[in-house]
Symmetry: C2
Amino acid sequence: MTEYTNHGVILRRRTNGLPTAEMFEFSETAVPEPADGDVLVHNLYVSADPGMKGWVSTAKNYASVEVGETMRSSGVGEVVVSRNPSIQEGEYVFGMTGWQEYGIASPGHPGFRTVDPTSAPLSAALGALGHTGLTAYFGLLEVGQPREGETVLVSTAAGAVGSAAGQIAKVKGCRTVGIAGGSEKVRLCREAFGYDAAIDYKSVGDLSMALEEACPDGIDVYFDNVGGATLDAVMPLLNQGGRVAICGTASTASWDPPPSGVRLERYLLVKRLRLQGFILFDFEERFPEALADLFRWHGEGRLAYREDITDGLEHAPRVLAGLYEGTNTGRAVIRVRPDVNR
Amino acid sequence: MTEYTNHGVILRRRTNGLPTAEMFEFSETAVPEPADGDVLVHNLYVSADPGMKGWVSTAKNYASVEVGETMRSSGVGEVVVSRNPSIQEGEYVFGMTGWQEYGIASPGHPGFRTVDPTSAPLSAALGALGHTGLTAYFGLLEVGQPREGETVLVSTAAGAVGSAAGQIAKVKGCRTVGIAGGSEKVRLCREAFGYDAAIDYKSVGDLSMALEEACPDGIDVYFDNVGGATLDAVMPLLNQGGRVAICGTASTASWDPPPSGVRLERYLLVKRLRLQGFILFDFEERFPEALADLFRWHGEGRLAYREDITDGLEHAPRVLAGLYEGTNTGRAVIRVRPDVNR
């Protein structure tokens, strides 16, 4: 494979706080050699995800990236070398190809799939029609288990996962309430993502009071992307038998040591609540049916999504750091090959 | 019904702390009149339960007792007046008959059942062969969902609910570890209730370290009767996919305002944990099958129980207050009619 040169973003140090661009380095790297059964992918788009904070954290995580390694990420691109008889060179695939021009994808690994470049923009495979949408789908439907007519509250409601969760709840006949930061995101909640009510947590004085007003029948399901003080404010308003799907803990910068907060166990007992964490790959065998639902809802105009596309792999660390400043309003995607617009 | 006089224990004030005997008053009261469909029961035994703290608390609860009312409790006794064609006078029944000599039981109400006085001592209907055993049964099996070979941890492990939970986990092929306070309770855990290991939280210096030693394969299910700092110590040791059944919060004296503790949401996310509160009556339609299991295990010698029987209804408030001092080692039962020994 001497015909390729590779560039990638390497993790240079870990943090117990928020990731910064300086923790990474963009450099020329070796083109990885696909093992038997794997494919070499020329990345078109890679992603920056809030959950990457955990991967580069000094705290224990289910998926740490080691210092000196290329940053792990999902990517979508074109197969340029196939060592797998079921995948042809020239096909488009989704895999954990990393922040690099050329990455390996393993058809046996969680989430790998081929992507039809004609059914939707390829970049959507990184978002609403990929893991982002799937995370919302399983977190909401399997952990949250909303029933028609119930009130579903979503935090980071205009974000990539949150906006999908809110729209799926709407498909299921729920009343949806979003929490977002800033008037622009609140506008998006109402106008782009169909929330019945949206709260700007940055401008309301008292979040508890705002939640009470926005949820006159209480809260049955809370799709929680942030944890922290917002979760504390939600707990007293959950109805009996309420469910909280713990999808992220973005509001807390460091978990080492774990910070203090309101004790929750009394709420759980008295109201028979369920708090449950999940990760997407526990549901992997059901991805095909879920993607079919997501594509159908997207085709019917019931699942809108937004993307912030940045050109140039070298900007990926800055895009990641920006996620925690709350300024992005769409799924953060890095276009590795600005020459390709598909 | 002028042939009966009644005495009962009345709630005189509420608390946001632990119940004391002085909050109650023992006095002559009216014999209640059974409505159509109800029965009047001459109580033989009534119970004192840790959960009563919530009923007399100033904080919101699912089952508050009002000031001036007779204290609610379960009881077992003889039907002396029946206004229900399916229940005969002279039958023994279990119901929420209260801390009084004569109380009403409603055959349509949660938990009501007739009790066979020949199959086990009548008082067991208030404990291991009644709601106590049922609470352990559904909390452990439905919320905790232990699988064979897993490690099940139980707090207040020698207590009425805890000892039943530990023994049921053993029936299901689990390794059982108990947390109890004091050497006598730890001895009971090992010798009477079959725990594989037991920890005296009062004498170990470092509970986390003691838990790690007692649970070398981590913890899969935590049957939590106490909440608080013990829950905090358990969280880091839960295995991926671990379940916590929140059955009680006895370690925290007051929830008004809710005290602070370690934030739990990160553990839930990273390890895909489930924390769930429950109350027994959510499972009421399955009581008959569960009671059949409990009676069978008791008959097979696999479900031992202990009782602390106190004679005299006037002592019920003192028995209740004593529960929170941690001195009792068995199900707290008050014998209303010391002349009856059945």
